[in-house]
């Protein structure tokens, strides 16, 4: 088959399913029909938005990349805490964003994926209690606690209660660039304040999208970028860490 004409695996599997369904409807005793012999092993279709089936939880290792970094943050209610307070011996997905970002492959993608991770966790209640999502702004000039509170509106809809300890998703910012810098440096999240032709700041940021997976021992275990930031992958990685810890 020519690589230029290859169809995606998901389409192939979906097409096969349609053919089997049609054959069953015609009372053909094909594998997969009621009463027919067990079907040969068919790989499951990739999750929506992925072109492949990610490796199963626990079948691979996520070696520690670096220690997580701490720093002074402020939540969307204006309460100052340390970032480590939010790690809280949970598995954490930490996403650096700024609310004015409109690059579809940037912050909106990260926040959208965290939304889907949170939805997925509703069917994994035991794991969900061990996970925290954090969106941390790197634009303290504009992303005040009030702005983060509005940004958080959707992510907070089905949190168990309003107490910060119980929340699945925390929306944080910092008091100042001085508070922000050591956090960005600690995680290696570089940002560039863009300038126009006259060298004046535009208010936009160039940044390589990164979402950090942090384990319960405050170690970064994976770093996702646009190319593979997908809820199925993140969930499998969370499960892999949970299995590693000897899930109860």
């Amino acid at each position: 088959m020519s690589p230029a004409t290859r169809r995606s695996g998901s389409r192939t599997v979906a097409g096969a399913a349609l053919i089997v369904a049609a054959a069953c409807a015609a009372a053909l005793m094909l594998p997969g029909c009621p009463g027919a012999p067990p079907p040969p092993s068919v790989p499951p279709a990739p999750p929506d938005g992925l072109e492949y089936q990610p490796p199963a939880p626990g079948t691979y290792a996520l070696p520690p990349i670096a220690p997580a970094a701490d720093g002074a943050v402020v939540d969307d209610q204006g309460v100052s805490r340390r970032l480590f307070d939010y790690l809280d011996h949970r598995y954490v997905l930490l996403s650096f964003i700024y609310t004015h970002c409109t690059d579809s492959q940037g912050c909106p993608l990260a926040t959208g994926v965290l939304t889907m991770v949170k939805e997925a966790l509703t069917s994994e209640p035991e794991l969900a209690t061990r996970v925290r999502l954090i969106s941390l702004s790197f634009d303290p000039d504009r992303d005040t606690p009030a702005v983060m509170r509005r940004y958080a509106l959707h992510g907070r809809l089905d949190d168990p209660d309003s107490r910060w300890q119980a929340r699945t998703w925390s929306f944080l910012t910092t008091r100042s660039r001085e508070d922000l810098e050591p956090i960005l440096e600690g995680y290696g999240q570089s940002i560039v304040r863009e300038i126009d032709a006259q060298g004046r700041p535009t208010g936009d940021f160039s940044h390589v999208l990164k979402v950090f997976l942090i384990d319960r021992r405050r170690r970064v275990r994976n770093i996702y970028s646009t190319a593979f930031l997908h809820p199925a992958i993140a969930i499998n990685d969370l499960k892999t860490l949970w299995l590693e810890d000897g899930r109860p």
């Binding site: 690589p3 290859r6 072109e51 691979y60 670096a66 939805e119 794991l127 290696g188 936009d204 390589v208």
Partner: protein, 455 residues
């Protein structure tokens, strides 16, 4: 709780819709523009230059009797309107010779990692603080010990927040068996992934043989695939070229495999047979182009590594490069951003060839041009209009006497003619032997080019 261990359970019913994200967009600001410049063939995870490159960084081998005789990072001005266009504007010697070879940026492009194949040292240059004047920020001197015996770090490839390094050799026998090694962007060791071998296939399906050799690495995240190629060990690449060619035993020890890996799990899936030392790997960029090219140095063939059905990868020799009987020794390739054309440099005849690869199974040569007495690396800009060439292969493999030209040459390419724009004589400038070239730009760091540089 866990379900049945099948990946993605619990979310397969979710619809991949970005409608949910609309509520998150609270203000409007210009999105970053598309990349219209920059070098092709780089990591897809890496920040890209969105205008023309300002600088070409050249990782240069020190040579006896030339300048300070040490390896150095050389910066060439690539701004056509600059007073110093095409000239060396900065050099940074690292002191000593390490068999300087390849270099690669971190994903945020703030650091350029450059390695030595002999000493296995890794030099991390800060190219963000002043892109016109890189500075050495860290030297990793314990790569062999930390990696568990890997020798000769070659490709330095950006993954998110970390670097994937290929080895060429090992410290037990200095042969070709080796591994991939991961480091954090800050320069801290993470882990080692040994290449699959006959005795330890690590779950990989072996087509003919598994030599365990390494050379280049490239990834296709969309298909969760990583490819590695295979060269030869320290005992060969540090040997005099003529002596090695005359040594039948040495010539048996060249790579003949490309390994297909599960990128996320870092596990080898299959070992393809690609005899003749397959070197540089270049994945196509097209959203449905599930293939890569590589060239085999000893057999002068262009290979297509392609997915032939879901998760089934194959290797196919699709073209000869020059006359294989004359052993032109193809060493580097560069694929255009639109996947239509492939530059191929061959060392022995000092020639670059351009292939039309729009039909990847049936490439056709459309241009042939001699660049110098010897030729090695080629780097093209994202728009394909600028092509840069360098001359040196390895210290002990470069030609001798008059044929030992050492240069970086910049050309413009209009689709028909390759026209020289500048040349830097690296011996006349007392620099050494230029190997890999990487592009830099002030705009990557929110800076403007230095004022007063324009003509």
């Amino acid at each position: 709780m866990m379900t049945d261990g099948r990946p993605g359970m619990g979310i397969v019913a979710l619809r991949w819709s970005f409608a949910v994200m609309a509520g998150w967009l609270m203000a409007v600001c210009p999105a970053p523009g598309p990349a219209i410049a920059d070098e092709t063939c780089m990591s897809p995870y890496m920040a890209k230059i969105t205008w023309q490159e300002d600088y070409v960084y050249v990782w240069t081998l020190g040579a006896k009797g030339v300048g300070d005789e040490s390896d150095k990072l050389v910066t060439i001005d690539a701004r056509p309107r600059s007073k110093t266009y095409g000239k060396v504007i900065h050099t940074l010697s690292v002191g000593g010779r390490n068999e300087a070879h390849h270099a690669g940026f971190t994903d945020d492009r703030r650091s350029l990692w450059a390695s030595g194949l002999d000493t296995s040292k890794i030099f991390i240059f800060d190219v963000a603080t002043d892109p016109a004047k890189p500075r050495l920020s860290r030297t990793i001197g314990d790569f062999v010990a930390r990696s568990g015996g890997v020798v000769g770090p070659h490709t330095l490839y950006a993954l998110p927040g970390r670097m994937m390094l290929t080895g060429l050799s090992n410290d037990k026998d200095h042969g070709g068996a080796t591994a991939l090694v991961e480091y954090s962007n800050k320069g801290d060791y993470i882990t080692t992934h040994w290449m699959p071998t006959q005795s330890s296939p690590r779950g990989a399906a072996i087509e003919k043989t598994a030599d365990g050799y390494g050379y280049d690495v490239r990834v296709l995240p969309r298909r969760n695939v990583m490819l590695t190629s295979s060269f030869t060990g320290w005992s060969n690449y540090m040997m005099d070229f003529g002596r090695m060619l005359a040594d039948p035993e040495a010539m048996k020890h060249f790579g003949q495999t490309v390994v297909v890996w599960d990128l996320h799990a870092r596990k080898p899936r299959s070992v393809l047979s690609v005899p003749g030392a397959p070197l540089e790997i270049r994945f196509a960029w097209g959203p449905r182009h599930d293939y890569a090219f590589t060239s085999s140095a000893l057999t002068s063939k262009l290979w297509l590594i392609y997915e032939d059905g879901p998760d089934v990868w194959k290797a196919e020799a699709v073209a000869d490069i020059g006359d294989p009987a004359k052993v032109p020794l193809p060493v580097d390739i560069s694929l255009s951003a639109d996947d239509q054309y492939l530059w191929i440099d061959s060392f022995m005849d000092g020639t670059t060839r351009l292939f039309d690869v729009s039909d990847p199974h049936h490439p056709k040569q459309v241009l042939e041009k001699k660049i110098g007495s010897q030729l090695n690396m080629v780097s093209q800009s994202w728009d394909g209009k600028r092509v840069y060439f360098s001359s040196s292969l390895l210290a002990n493999w470069d030609k001798k006497g008059q044929d030992d030209e050492q240069f970086v040459k910049g050309f413009t390419w209009d689709g028909k003619e390759l026209t020289q724009a500048f040349a830097v004589d690296f011996y006349a400038e007392k620099l050494g032997r230029p190997h890999i070239m990487r592009f830099g730009a002030a705009s990557l760091y929110g800076k403007r080019s230095a004022p007063g540089a324009a003509k």
